[in-house]
Subunit: 187 residues, 2 copies
Amino acid sequence: MDKRQQILEATAELIAEHGLQASPMSMVAKHAGCGAGTIYRYFETKEELVRELFADVALKVTEACLQGYDRHAGIKQRFFVYWGNFYHWMRDHPQTRALMEQLGSSPAICENHRQASMQCLQEPVTELLEDGKNQQLIKNLPDEVLATMTFGALMTMCRKQHLTPSTFTTEVNADDLITLCWDAIKA
Amino acid sequence: MDKRQQILEATAELIAEHGLQASPMSMVAKHAGCGAGTIYRYFETKEELVRELFADVALKVTEACLQGYDRHAGIKQRFFVYWGNFYHWMRDHPQTRALMEQLGSSPAICENHRQASMQCLQEPVTELLEDGKNQQLIKNLPDEVLATMTFGALMTMCRKQHLTPSTFTTEVNADDLITLCWDAIKA
DNA sequence: AGAATCGGACTGAATGTTCATTCTGCTCTT
DNA sequence: AAGAGCAGAATGAACATTCAGTCCGATTCT
């Protein structure tokens, strides 16, 4: 029974559901099954709690994205595996998605910490894009541009599907989405 | 000297800079050059203020997107004009962008109000996409998918350029971005 | 062994702060 | 001098954080 982990999980659930500003420490405590003071044995402040949570989540997502990812496979296949994993994870874990979005643009986390936490997520993509550009399979634009556009497109799709599923009359096919992204960046 | 407008503008500036939860009414009042009580002559609650602000901003963005947009021009040209306008506006008005993102996923605005406010922004895009699909120029996927992916990609690019301009070593060319999006959705 | 003591982990009421909102009275305008 | 419009202090609720004490397993003492 790892209290620290329990607190992180409780915080994740609450923020995903109610948003950061509507998740008081007292509620986090109740959700985690501990007293309010206990949280402060593990985290200096609410801000630190949130920062650690963000890092924790970024790590989990990275892990998910790399499931079955073979650094030495073809460019296109790697692209589909990585972003397919990303999309599925985000679609199936709306909690994580909401969390990353809440915290991704919240003044509660400074830009440096955010960058650091997301580093691991970016790294494989950068490598992939560089390889692709060398093989002239991918447009010759900065990695950050290609990565950001793909990330943004998929993330936004997941958000929309979660928040207003009613706007999508038919089932959305994951492969169609990744293909869209691939067509966008391919040379 | 329209007080109501001044209050809306002050709110916009503060939320864009500090975020919603860090923009107390007292600060809004100071920024707008009025007393705290005065705000309540124009808006019932903070929530209503924020809701109106969102609607106001969505309208302004729509207007910007339609600059020089000709409903009867070719599909590709319409696409470039509309999303080019969108991108430039969002890039050059980080305040508006931040606002739309803050309020776009804030529990402070209910999903219905959000939908209603964004209606006007979606409408021309839907028409464009339908026409494009009829002419077989555009992938046969639901409008919402195509629109959401484009919107998400560009919006995220603007955010990233604003928050961490340092990640972009070279100047980002707007046309490259729209081309990316066009390649994504074209048949 | 059993009693006595210690000390770290934990609790939740208390504290002080920050806000949204209200209210009292002031200031123009007519 | 009446009334609309406004300012800003006052109010009360919500919250992050603190703290005085409780609990319990381990350690030392008899």
